[in-house]
Amino acid sequence: MSFLVDATLVFLAAGILFYVLFGGADFGAGILELFLHRKHADEQRRIISRAMAPVWEANHVWLVLVVVILFVGFPKVYTTVSIFLHLPVMALLMGIVARGCAFTFRHYDTLGGAYYKSYSAAFSLSSVWTAFFIGVTAGATMLGRMDPVGSTFYSAYLASWLNPFCLCMGLFVVCLFAFLAAVYLCGETQSAPAQRILRRQGAFALGGMLAMGVGVFLFGNGPTFPLAQMFFTNRMSQVSFVIATLLLWPLWQGLKNEARSFRVRAIGVCIVTLVLLGWFAVQYPVALRTTVGDITFQAAAAPEATLRALLASLIVGVLIILPALGYLFRVFKWEALKQS
């Protein structure tokens, strides 16, 4: 049983990781659009549209996978989140709808002008909004202020997430997504000015990530939730922290050196992966913290027959999906990868 739970968690973790690495970068592209260089705005929008259009629908499906695994494999986690994080999850959903529609509508807008502008605005603002609430929701699952017994409006709807820690987490995720988008997009264009802008944006986003990371550790340090202590006593998060920090130097070199966008991409992916690994390590085996105690994945897991069937489906699903997904990326991303 414990093996089944852990095996399912591997898929869950992979789903979250891929959603961040692929879907997150799509949100990041929307975030970057808020900071366009006036002269190169149209060019940058074109680069983003061209890079995102063929793959964003597929990237979005990782989230569906995460939701399905939670819902089927860990129903208690799923329902607790949907009840006690009602508002941030709702906000997240609104953002997802607005972002997806705005992007598609802009892409198929044949009239241009004012409509193009408003679709663009909706696309960037909802990207920031959604990324922020993804971070807030993730933060709230760690912090442990979800209050199953509270009865006031504040305790029921706001206490779990309206606090400096979760807000920092939200901003951290915004910066992280923007960072990913900037380093990916570096490889999607040959134009020197666009490259320069993207590298600068990547550096800024990285700075934001570091600043917000400090904030996360500062505010996540209550008596019931000593994040720093938990983080630095866990072997895996220690290791991932050290490696990620060491990678910052070659990343910085890469961002300064115009020629090496492949290296920048690879290091960017590594850093983000390590950040997530550190988070998973701190979180495991707890799924959610609440005011009346922790809910572990083990305790929240579905019965054995369900986990078995879920795992079987996931394995078969992966065997079908991965080749198809590989082909999709080969068709649309191979050229860019070779050039970089």
Binding site: L65, L93, A156
Partner: protein, 432 residues
């Protein structure tokens, strides 16, 4: 109050999503047909049509995909108790649906942006794959809904499910017929809407492309419409066997009797347990429900009041669905005869105008059908096991989220219609 608001929110969300999902099911097949015609006889007009339709697919797929994702969360937000119990039992089709949806998104990406990057026949296969994956996802999602009508694969132990068998739950008694009924309905509704829309555009512009489009779409619609009465009959028989209360509400049938009459129209009165002004066709309900004119059909009066679905709504919705279904089937027969025997007459303005009038009918029938399924299942969320009121979120304020979602869906509908008109305009510019 909260219960009503939550049910309305589900109704609006599902009612919105089903339109986009239906388009996602049927439209790729139309697109692939047109593309096939182009690949076979290299007439440019079919390529233009394929591209025009593919843009429609992209717009509707995106909106359908995001509204579907939202639905998966909404279920948890509004009905946490249901999701907690149902998840382990009926989650299986959702994970398969996820896989199908993934494939659909990948194939669509390759189809929309791979015109010059992959070989024509592989490209065509991707287009077809979008449709096949769409149909498959629809089947899986409907498996889950069918399970709410026909729960299977678990034992109920004082409010908790034990001995869970996810595969038995997925392949429950209602799944196959309900899925088939919906997929056929999608082809019917989308086929007629597209045929009607292009008929309208042809009447206005006389572009040959629109006539070709009308014919392709009509063929799909007509075949589906002729198949639907048969599928629908099987589906109704399955309801009669499993959910007597739903069947009784559909027919506004109050008294248990043998040789029960089929009711056409009529105003049911729940207080008195009588239905006025209906036309009764003797014995036909017994025959349609059980294949025997003398079979006994259970009436609502023999079902405890607390387990009645809202009778009037279910009855009216059923009448609308069956009425439209019959009309479309008859019209399909006529249209197909013309197309086969006298193609010129098919192009007559009168016939095309009738087609224009059919644009919304299929969708109205789909919505009515879902009203029958969902309202007719009340007061249960899991038929016979869990009441809808037990599953409701303990949080107050559902009404605000209802208002918000209604607003968003209204906005999305307006924008998608607006975009569609813009696409048509630019297509016409291209044709001129």
């Amino acid at each position: 109050m909260d219960l009503l608001a939550a049910r309305w929110q589900m109704a609006i969300s599902l009612g919105f999503h089903i339109i986009y999902a239906s388009i996602g099911i049927a439209m790729p097949f139309l697109m692939a047909t047109s593309y096939w015609l182009y690949l076979r006889n290299k007439k440019k007009i079919y390529l233009t049509l394929t591209k025009a339709w593919s843009k429609g697919v992209a717009i509707f797929f995106a909106v359908g995909a995001v509204s579907g994702t939202v639905l998966s969360f909404e279920l948890g937000l509004l009905w946490p108790k249901f999701m907690e119990h149902a998840g382990p039992i009926i989650g299986m089709p959702f994970s398969w649906e996820g896989t199908a949806f993934f494939l659909e998104a990948i194939a669509l990406g390759i189809f929309l942006y791979g015109w010059k990057r992959v070989s024509p026949y592989l490209h065509w296969t991707c287009g077809l794959l979008v449709g096949i994956a769409g149909v498959t996802s629809a089947f899986f999602v409907i498996c889950a809904n069918a399970w709410m009508n026909s729960p299977a694969g678990f034992d109920w132990n004082g409010g908790n499910p034990i001995n869970i068998d996810p595969w038995a739950a997925m392949f429950n008694d209602a799944a196959l017929l309900q899925g088939l009924h919906m997929v056929v309905a999608a082809f019917q509704a989308v086929g007629f809407a597209v045929a009607g829309l292009h008929a309208l555009l042809w009447l206005r512009t006389q572009f040959d492309l629109h006539l070709k489009a009308t014919k392709i779409a009509f063929c799909f619609a007509a075949i589906a419409s002729l198949a639907q009465p048969i599928v629908g009959d099987f589906a109704a028989k399955s309801v009669a066997r499993r959910q007597p209360a739903k069947l009784a509400a559909m027919e506004a049938h109050f008294e248990t009797m043998k040789r029960a009459p089929l009711l056409v129209g009529g105003i049911p009165d729940e207080a008195t347990g009588k239905t006025r002004f209906g036309i009764e066709l003797p014995g036909l309900l017994s025959f349609l429900a059980f294949g025997d004119f003398d079979a006994e059909v259970k009436g609502l009066n023999d079902i405890p009041r607390k387990e009645w679905p809202p009778v009037a709504i279910t009855h009216y919705a059923f009448q609308v669905m069956v009425g439209i279904g019959t009309l479309l089937a008859l019209f399909s027969l006529v249209g197909l005869l013309f197309l086969w025997r006298a193609p010129k007459k098919f192009e007559s303005p009168t016939l095309l105008k009738v087609l224009v009038a059919c644009i919304p009918l299929g969708f109205i029938a789909i919505e009515s059908g879902w009203v029958v399924t969902e309202v007719g299942r009340q007061p249960w969320i899991i038929y016979g096991f869990m009441r809808t009121s037990e599953a409701l979120t303990p949080r107050p304020g559902v009404i605000y989220s209802l208002a918000l979602y209604a607003l968003i869906y209204a906005l999305l509908s307006v924008v998608s219609v607006f975009l569609l008109t813009a696409q048509v305009k630019s297509l016409h510019k291209e044709l001129r």
